[in-house]
Amino acid sequence: MRATLEGEFVRLRPLEVTDAEMTLGWRTSQRAAHLNAGSQTLDEQARWIASRPESEYNFVIELRDGRPVGMVSVTGLDERHGTCEPGRFLIGDEAAVRGTPAAVESMKLIYELVFERLGLRRIHGTIVSENTLMIKWQKFLGMREEGRMRQHFFVNGRYQDCVIFGMLADEFRRDALPRMKALIAAGRAVRTTAPDE
């Protein structure tokens, strides 16, 4: 059983089969339009969750009051090369996280998991070229564009480029982590209600 990752605004707890209905709703929403097509039925989603290999980390993002608001994963873990691919990042309940650094803290917990706990040295990922929101987000979080595969994805009824991103452990510690901590601190500064612990 994977451990839960605890943050100030969110916790990441392991994805379970009982999350199938909720996560299917998120994955089939307009907000997930730029992601690769996944399960289309509740049964498919439950089977997909049940079949996740031990080598993956799949989390539900919960606010500190227990409300589930999204999901995120770590896949492709390669201990020999020290690499992995954080992904499947989706805020499913945007209204619940407005005005808070929930999304940035979720990614901080993921990056700390892979670089500090697992001791990996590099992360990488791909984004559909029209997903400009996610591209800006990943760059803000320290990911660097490393390349592009032209017309690699068929998403939203058309072929789109695949943008390749990567970040090394020292870049995370030097560039990304201070920026993440600063945005979380800004969230703390504007918060009117104290966290539940």
Binding site: A102, F140, L183, V190, R191
Partner: protein
């Protein structure tokens, strides 16, 4: 001729309109100087907030011919936080441009 305040505000509105262009019809943001960007009653999550700040940085640099940073430690550690609302962000950018 519009004032710098109007120019800056127009840039922020432009970034919010760009965000609206990527959102579903039922998720459109109501845009005004009082629009709350971060903190209680805000309309953005941190993912969308970052998108707006990055766009504003780019558009402000194009408009005024000099780079400004809204995503550095200085901006993030300001008290009060400068991106709680369109009005507060506009005032902070004006301050940066005045330096």
């Amino acid at each position: 001729m519009s004032s710098k305040k109007d120019q800056v505000e127009a840039i922020i509105f432009g970034a919010l309109e760009a965000l609206n262009a990527e959102r579903a019809p039922d998720e459109q943001l109501a845009i005004s100087a009082d629009t709350r960007l971060f903190g209680p009653d805000a309309v953005l999550d941190s993912l969308s907030l970052v998108s707006v700040m990055v766009d504003v940085e780019t558009m402000a640099s194009d408009e005024f011919g000099r780079a400004i940073s809204l995503t550095d430690d200085r901006a993030m550690s300001q008290t009060p936080v400068p991106f709680t609302s369109v009005r507060a962000l506009s005032a902070y950018i004006e301050e940066l441009l005045g330096e």
